[in-house]
Amino acid sequence: MDRVIAWLSATKMSATIQNTVWVIPAIQCVHILAICVVMSSVLLRNLRLVGLIGGGEPADVFTRRYLPWVWSALVVLLLSGSLLIIGEPNRDLQNFAFWTKMSLLLSAIILTLILERPVLHSARFWEPRPRRLIARALALAALGCWVGIVLCGRWIAYLYQG
């Protein structure tokens, strides 16, 4: 990991990101705005699966409406996040909060795929009773992961011993 950090820090791109004062906060703004999109889309879709909102409206409508937003905002997040890592590699790559965030992100993506796939093939897949309970549990777990991701994101700044 030290070698990765040393190599990334030596790249021209890293120097550019670090030496222009406004670049990092600007990328962070884009990153946070993309998180707004992901969080609200995931919140609405998952609360529908839990059964708290949107009664009368089939669950697959939520999935079809909001998940494309999640996936495209995730691309923006991965790109802006990568730029932040290139800019300050040792802020992230040796940071407990960063790796916790990445593990939670992986879990959230897997949970989202598990919940999304079957619905695209048969709209009412999660509606029969035993499955509905599984979907509810997975949806809550996924929401927990996303909340953790946001909290860890802020904590990266505090666990970084620059």
Binding site: I35, S40, E57
Partner: protein
Amino acid sequence: MTIHNALLALQNSFFATAIREGDSLFPWIESFHVLAVVLVVGTISIIDMRLIGLPAHRKSVRRLMKDVLPLTWGAFAVALITGFLLFSSEALKYWALREFQAKMLLLVAAGVNMLFFHIVTFRNAHLWDELVETPPAAKLAGISSIFLWIGVVICGRVLGFVLAQQGFG
């Protein structure tokens, strides 16, 4: 009591002192502040985009608001309380910062925009409630709301960045 004295009293209060001097109180409150702001901006933009003319999960604007607005207001309450606590820890410093002043102005503008929408534009909502093609006044309310909230987020991030550069927060 002048504003200066009030701010001084606020930042000398027991909770402001605890937040300022504690090791992890500020980061925890700030993390939940970010989470709450993210949810406020994200959920509001779902309604804004419906007002602009993009479909959401409900056809009816009023029923969409019934689904989404309780989440927005809940998150807004958390953002307000956590924001006040963060502000209290360095009240004088925040008060004097241009970024903080800009954020508060944008927040007020977003509130006025919302009030105007509810009192004026929304009065004849029954006429266009189910239409994806919304009237120009509704589109304008949606677009202004999105831009004002993006401004709030940018000011908030720059505010944190400027303070961190100075060794605070």
